[in-house]
Symmetry: C2
Subunit: 263 residues, 2 copies
């Protein structure tokens, strides 16, 4: 392996890493992204293989990070001054280790029985959390519309806690097309639909979740079989009772999971 100590912000490798950290277009055109922290990098090793490059800060690293580096002696490594390293990470208390990796492409199963369609989710933390929940619930494919924030940004990866490494993602989809072509029941999570709990969910199901503020687009509401809602305790009393998109997705996907386990 090659080890390099980079101390100039004008170094072309460093400049490229900065772009990858900040810029979805750069990630898309290069097919690369950055993973931050031991947990994500271990997940990558377990599912995809070795990173292209390891990035560590000067100074003492955590025990966890040092242990991980000992398994990666064959991988090219660069060391950066603390502040330059910090500028690559979305977190203030970094675990002191990053990796440059190709964005993985996880194959779709031949038959998708449990799918999630994500329409225009804007916040990277929300998107990450939704993908993490989907992976935990056993979703087999997540379809993301063009209007979604990039699933491979450092913040979305952090929110996903590795979900992006196991869950097949189909990006830049047309929401209506995906709903119309799904071979099974299609349901949109809305504010004023039928009760989620009145739906039989043990067969092939696609759930659609919409933008944090605007909800599911009208076109998509028309394209799905049913608009469903999660019954709230005091629905509408003060317009204060509602769920955020990530919580609503968790409730809906695990209601599927419950019906499958108990059916």
């Amino acid at each position: 392996m090659a080890f390099k100590h980079i101390t100039s912000r004008d170094n072309p490798v460093y400049k490229h890493l900065r772009k990858l950290a900040d810029n979805a277009r750069e990630r898309k055109s290069s097919g690369l992204t950055l993973l931050e922290g031991v947990h994500l990098i271990e997940g990558y090793l377990q599912t995809q293989g070795e990173p292209q490059l390891m990035i560590i800060p000067e100074g003492k690293s955590s025990l966890e990070a040092s242990n991980l580096m000992q398994h990666l002696v064959d991988v090219d490594t660069i060391m950066l001054p603390t502040l330059m390293f910090a500028d690559l990470t979305p977190v203030s208390s970094s675990s002191g280790i990053m990796a440059l990796v190709p964005v993985p492409e996880i194959a779709l199963p031949e038959i998708v029985n449990f799918a999630l369609l994500i329409e225009n989710i804007q916040d990277p933390g929300n998107l990450g959390s939704i993908l993490r929940t989907a992976a935990a619930a056993g979703v087999q494919a997540a379809y993301l519309t063009k209007g979604c924030t990039d699933a491979w940004s450092p913040k979305a990866l952090r929110g996903g806690q590795g979900a992006q490494l196991v869950l097949p993602l189909v990006e830049n989809v047309d929401a209506v097309e995906v709903a119309e072509q799904f071979a099974g029941k299609t349901l949109a999570l809305t504010m004023h639909g039928q009760s989620l709990y009145d739906q039989a969910l043990s067969g092939p199901v696609l759930f659609a979740v919409g933008n944090e503020g605007a909800g599911i687009s009208e076109a998509l509401q028309h394209a799905v079989n049913h608009c469903v809602s999660i019954p709230m305790a005091h629905q509408g009393v003060l317009a204060l009772e509602s769920l955020n998109a990530a919580a609503a997705t968790a409730v809906a996907l695990f209601e599927c999971q419950r019906q499958r386990l108990q059916g």
Copy 2:
């Protein structure tokens, strides 16, 4: 009403607002906090009454904010230069209106049949999201341990989307004491417990949710009747499948809600 244009960062009123925005101790000792945005301020008007002070930035305000201000002509108002206003808010795209309010104290019902105990949640956005979910699920009291982040910080209020205005909060509790004194079933959400779905949840129930990283403390695990888990699709295969604290809370609380509606 009195209207004041403040342009100096050394103004004592402004300095006090800065402290309230940044500092839990200041909020606690003064019993005051800041609400940001039309939605939260409208929620406060509907549930508590008029704010003590309105705060607006120089320049053109949104239609929503102007409409709201017309309902608050009797409330003292200060106007701030844009940058000074921005330094009081947790969001980059502020809706251009804030209010100074006494922290509301919402009375506990005499009998609490559905409670949430929150142990050492650190992230204000997570705490807000958990409280929002609890309010939507019909939780009647939320108990927060001393180790929790402040529920009245601007970020937690934003995450709660008004939950803090309707849900009785009991802060600085001893987790074990709360669990032991609850008159009903007490359940802790853990990684390796019995299935959530095997629990009868239509009677009085207290759920406990733990710290994002460490989970429920051992002492609290011993104090509750049962440790329960949400069954994951591929439990443990890659240690990548898990739920964050807010998503797990949503699934558990709405499983209660479902059993109550269907039982």
